[in-house]
Each structure stands twice: as C-alpha cells, then as structure tokens.
C-alpha cells in the first residue's frame, strides 16, 4: 500500500508535460466518454450486492445504474469528486435515504441474499445490521455511557445492567476510546474532542453488533492525528466487519481500503483492487482524478 497517487500540487493541469504523458497512456485507458463500469464489480464472498441501482432526487438522476458488491471483511473506499453520488450510494445501503421525501431508489440491493428494499424487510432490523458513522461527529447530547448503551438497550441486546456495562466497555475498547474515557463515563459525549467524538460514534455503531459499517467521510472534520487514529481503527475493525467508506482523501482511500470504487457524476466508473486503481487506472476519468486533473 506504499503506492499513493502523486500529490496534486506536483501537477500543472494543462501543462505540456502532462498532456504528453496523457497522450502516451491514452491508448491503454478507456475513453472518458464511456461510462461503462471498468473492472470487476463482484467479489468472492459478497456481504451486500447492488445491481443496477438508480437513485432519483425528484427529477435529478443522482445514481445511474450502479452495480457493486461489498465483500466480507473488506474495506471498500468510494472516491470521486463532490456531488458524484458516492454518499447517496452509501446511504442506500442502510436505507437512510428513506428519510428524504423526494428520494426514490430503484434496482436491487441484497444483503446475504435478502432484498433490503422488499416490503417484508424491517428497516429497523436492517439498520441494526448495517451501522453508520457520519461525516460530522454526532454524539447524542447525553453521557458517554448512554451514547453507547442506547443501541443495545433499544434492541434488547443486554440482559441486565452488568451485561450492558460489558457491551459498552467492549465497544469502547474496540473503538480505541476506553482508556481515554473510562473514568468519565457519565460526562456528556459532546464534551469530547472531535476525534474522540467520532470514535464514540464508531463505538455506538459497533455496540449493536452490525455486519456492515458505513462511513461517510468519517475524518473530514478531524485533524491529521485524529485521522490517523481512526484509520488505524478502521484497519483493525476489518477483521470483524465489512466496511464501506466514502472519502475525499485519495491518500486515505489508498491507506485503509482493499478495493476502491471511483464515482463520477452518478456513474460508477471503475472498481478494482486499491493498488491497481491507484497505480494503473484503466479508465481515463479515474486517471484524471487520481492524478489531480480535477476533483
């Protein structure tokens, strides 16, 4: 994972050198007008499978026929320029888009073979299986303990107080927050630093034992040190959960993920192993993006 895209600053868009470089690789890559997904969208052990997913906000076609698998115990990064639909796609996976009245989702998304948009499926159950961490840390304005205990409590996961205490402790330990907060469990979660708050949100998500964790730009509001801590945590969590992460930082995608999906204006342009996508992108748009031509 040592290969990372060249830092953006090195590039001079429209410069003579770049144009020449692009011309030479042009033949190897798919043309930029072709919006067919390049790369293998499937994995050997899929946890969730999306086929021909279309999302509309009113008249706006936000996601165009996207198919993608999310594998077991892998981190898949979704990258792309702002407004490309990567967050929208992520929110389809636990039906958070249901809360937006104008939003319409078409296509098939299955989890362990079950259609998550079928009428029979309980959305509450789905969200217990597919946890989510949001862009801005959003702990409840309650104590640290209550933040983590809320999920297990409403789902009836704990038998009694000691059981609940144990769940809270394990979750906080897994989120790497236990040592920092164990002496002040009754203090408000909103009083923690930004990075701690985000780890508290991760602890809150894993307290209900989900199978998949969705992360919507979890580090965009954090400083580099807090980001590094969270990235390390994501790598550790992979052993137990499938993780889909949306990120603006290509370096982050390269560091934490095994597979990378590049979105562009609602199209899924390219999917592949992270190493491959960042070193030898096969689509012209992917290459333009990771080399910093736009973004």
């Amino acid at each position: 994972m040592e290969t990372v895209a060249k830092p953006r600053d090195d590039e001079t868009p429209g410069g003579v050198d770049v144009a020449e470089t692009l011309d030479t690789v042009q033949s190897a890559t798919v043309d930029r007008d072709d919006r067919q997904t390049v790369g293998d969208i499937t994995v050997e052990q899929p946890r969730m499978c999306c086929r021909d997913v279309n999302v509309y906000y009113g008249d706006k076609h936000a996601i165009k026929s996207v198919s993608l698998d999310i594998g077991t115990n892998e981190v898949i990064a979704m990258i792309g320029p702002s407004g490309c639909g990567k967050s929208t796609f992520l929110r389809c996976l636990n039906r958070m888009n249901d809360t937006i009245p104008t939003c319409r989702v078409e296509g098939e998304i299955t989890m362990d073979g079950e259609d998550i948009y079928s009428k029979k499926l309980d959305v509450v159950l789905l969200r217990a299986r597919v946890g989510m961490v949001f862009q801005k840390p959003n702990p409840f304005p309650k104590s640290i303990y209550e933040n983590v205990a809320f999920g297990p409590r409403i789902h009836g996961l704990a038998r009694g107080k000691t059981d609940l205490d144990e769940i809270v402790e394990t979750s906080l330990k897994r989120a790497g927050l236990w040592d920092e907060v164990k002496d002040r469990m009754d203090q408000p979660g909103t009083g923690l630093s930004g990075g701690q708050q985000q780890r508290l949100c991760i602890a809150r998500a894993i307290a209900v034992s989900p199978e998949v964790i969705l992360m919507d730009e979890p580090c965009s509001a954090l400083d580099p040190i807090a980001t590094a801590v969270i990235e390390e945590l994501i790598d550790e969590l992979r052993a137990q959960y499938s993780i889909a992460i949306v990120t603006h930082s290509m370096q982050q995608a390269a560091r934490v993920s095994q597979r990378t999906a590049y979105f562009h204006l609602g199209d899924l342009i390219e999917v592949g192993d992270t190493d491959q996508v960042f070193t030898t992108p096969r689509h012209q748009l992917t290459e333009d993006y990771i080399t910093g031509r736009f973004g």
Binding site: M96, A128, N138, P139, F150, G151, T190, C201, V208
Partner: protein, 428 residues
C-alpha cells in the same frame, strides 16, 4: 482603475457619512426603547398608585354585647336559632349604645350607615363558630362602610358642600369622634385576598376569581399541552409532506390569528348548547381557552422540534431506532424547553383572556369561591372588567389592585418560562 492614493481619499470621505448613518440608527433605536420603557413605567406607576390603597381597609371597633336575651331568648343555643338571629339589629343596638344622644329615625339611619353590612355576617360567623360568646361582651373590629373608607383615604373631600358629599356633616363628626377614641383605623385588607366578589366594595375580594382562573388554567393546560405537543410531533416528524398537511399547517396558522371572541361564540354553541355543559364553569372556560392556545402551542412546539439538529435524528436512525424511539429518546428531550416556553406563554395569554369567557357566562356575579372546575365562577380579567364597570368610587382602587394581582401572576409565569429556557438550554 484608480490609483491607491485616490482610492484611500474616497474611502476616507465616505467614512464620515457611514459613521453618521450608524449614529442616527443607534439614536433611533435608543429612542424607541426609551419610549417603550416610558409607556410601561407609566402604566405600572399609575396602576400601583391607584391600586395600593385597596390593600388597606378602614375598620371600626365595636364593643358588642352578645345579649342572650336578644340572640337566643329560648336559651336552647341550637345552631338553627343562633344562625337565624337578628345580627343586623345587634350591630345597630351596639352603635346606639356607643352614641346614646343620637335620636330620630334619619340620624339613626345615618349612624348605622357608618358600618358595613358585612359586620352582621361577621358577628354571626363568630357566634356560630363559638356559641359560648352569647352572653358575653367583646370588642370586635368590623369593616367600615366604603364611604367611610373613601373619606379616610382622602378620596372624599371634607370641604365639599354637604349636599354634594356622600357623608353628612354629622357622620363626619362621628367618624372624628371614633378616630379620637381610637376606635377607627386602617388595617391590612385580608378580605381582599380571601373573599369572593361582593356588591359592597369593602367586602369584595379577588380570591374567588383567582380560584376560578386557577381551575380554568388547569383544564387548559391539561388539554392543550398534550394535544398540542402530540399534534406538533406528528406534523413535524411523522406526517408526509403533501397537500393535506400543507392545508392543516395553513389552518393552524390562521387559527392563531382568529379573534378570541370567536372562540367564545364557538364554545357557547358547542359546549353549552350542544353538549349542555354547565354555564359559567371553569371547565367550559378551559375548553374554550384550549382551542385558543392550541395553535400557539403547536406553532411553538414545531419550531422547537425544527431546531433539533437533523444529525441527532440521523444518529438515532442510523443505529436502528424506530421513529418513535428516535422522537421519545432524543428529539423530544431536546425540544422540550422550547415547547414548555411556548406553553407557558400560551398559558399567560389564556390567563389574561376575557372576551371568550364573557360568551360562556363567566361574567356572572358570583360570590361563592368555586370548589371545583364545575362550579360557577369568574376569572381575574373578567373580575377586573366587572369592577371597572361598577359605579362605587371604592371599586376604582379595587380594579387597579386586581390588575396588580393579575400582572404579578403574568410576570411570575413569564419569569418561569425564561428560567426553564435558561436551565434546559443545551449546546450540541
């Protein structure tokens, strides 16, 4: 392009104008605030100046001989006989003994006029609660008539010609005699805070109206808070966004602007005529005021719900709580201070409301203190309206005093609302 030198000159020239505009704006704002404060302080000063004497009442000391021959000739001391005895006659007899040289029917009537008719009831109550008094002699302070009270408070001029005065020269002389003997003085007016309404100003009190207001507000609060909050939560969190909910929203906003007397007419037609609920009862007043305060509470509650950040809702939904759990555990606790503030402001409005209550008969003259929400009663603002309408001079100060009581209730309620907001204010 101007060169920098030129640009700086232009900026400097415009500065003076900008500062002048700012000064003008500040002066205008300050003037507005001072004007408002002046009017408010004028209101308070005039009401307090008018009303504070009502908290004092002139009383006369009588040395009453509870003559057993007069009160209970048979000597059986039964409550029936004691309660039916002529206590008015006893008061008159006492007065005659105090001023033995008064003779003639006219003079006697003037003498009796010094003491309030309430004195007889006071003596009767004393005897009824303590029958052993019969046969003994006791000094008793009884309320003076309102005209005597007005003279003592300086509202009745001694210099005016006798024909234009409500007290004759003789009566004024007797009053001076009583003052000389130390048998007439001003005391704190407990009657005002413990009695119901009365035709006699010296016997009239605010307690009946206060209790009526209390029952009315309890009914209003018990109905409008749960209904208002439930409606707001449903509209804000659960209802789909469509033409029906838009229509409902427009109508709620319209209801908030409907003149209150219309709600009174509605109450008259629906609650009294159709459902045959008791007339003049706080329960009906509460129902009518509920209709009136509901829009206020719903609008305030919806604003409070809207101010809860969506990230909290997403967080709750994201870990799989149902919508009800999201609302009950996270949204409601955060919105509650705003809801309570809106409710208390709505209650304060309801406390000061008069017009709709006139329509459902709460304007009746009611002496008894209501014992429940189903007893006929009146409320504070209506009591003020009734007293302001009375011809006796003594009711002028009672009116202002009642306004003071009402205003202090309103101030307490609003202070409570502010305190709640401060206390539960949260940052996230």
């Amino acid at each position: 392009m101007k060169d920098q030198q030129q640009a700086m000159e232009l900026v400097r020239a415009s500065l003076a104008r900008r500062y002048a505009a700012e000064r003008r704006f500040r002066v205008a704002g300050l003037t507005a605030i001072l004007l408002g404060l002046t009017f408010v302080s004028f209101l308070f000063v005039s009401i307090i100046a008018n009303g504070h004497p009502a908290f004092w009442q002139t009383v006369i000391q009588l040395e009453v001989k509870f003559d057993s021959q007069f009160l209970d000739p048979t000597g059986e001391r039964s409550p029936d006989v004691l309660s039916a005895a002529d206590y008015g006659g006893l008061v008159k007899q006492t007065l005659r003994e105090m001023f033995p040289d008064v003779s003639g029917r006219r003079d006697k009537r003037e003498l009796y006029g010094l003491v309030s008719t309430g004195a007889a009831y006071q003596l009767r109550n004393m005897v009824m609660s303590e029958p052993a008094l019969v046969g003994s002699t006791k000094k008793v302070w009884v309320p003076a008539d309102d005209d005597v009270d007005m003279l003592m408070k300086g509202h009745l001029s001694r210099e005016a010609p006798e024909a234009e005065r409500r007290l004759s020269d003789k009566q004024v002389a007797w009053i001076d005699d009583l003052i000389g003997m130390g048998q007439l003085e001003k005391r704190f007016n407990t009657t005002f805070f413990t009695a119901g309404d009365s035709r006699e100003p010296e016997l009239a009190g605010i307690w009946g109206a206060a209790v009526g207001s209390f029952f009315t507000l309890v009914v209003t609060l018990c109905l409008s808070f749960p209904v208002g909050v439930a409606a707001a939560v449903y509209l804000e969190e659960f209802a789909p966004q469509n033409r029906w909910t838009d229509l409902i929203e427009v109508n709620i906003n319209n209801l908030a602007a409907v003149p209150s007397i219309v709600f009174g007419l509605l109450g008259l037609a629906v609650f009294l005529n159709f459902f045959a609920l008791p007339r003049s009862a706080p329960v009906v007043g509460g129902l009518v005021l509920t209709l009136m305060t509901l829009p206020t509470i719903i609008i305030a509650s919806r604003a409070a719900l809207k101010s809860v950040p969506p990230s909290i809702r997403e967080a709750a939904l994201g870990i799989g709580s149902s919508k009800v759990q999201m609302v009950v555990h996270h949204v409601l606790p955060l919105a509650l201070p705003g809801m309570l503030t809106g409710t208390i402001i709505g209650m304060a409005q309801a406390l000061g409301e008069t017009a709709p209550l006139l329509m459902i008969g709460m304007v009746a003259f009611i002496v008894d203190i209501p014992g429940s929400a189903f007893d006929p009663s009146t409320v504070l603002p209506v009591q003020i309206y009734l007293w302001a309408d009375s011809p006796e001079r003594a009711f002028v100060e009672k009116t202002s005093a009642a306004i003071m009581v009402l205003l202090s209730f309103l101030i307490v309620m609003n202070a409570f609302a502010i305190m709640l907001r401060k206390r539960f204010e949260r940052r996230w």
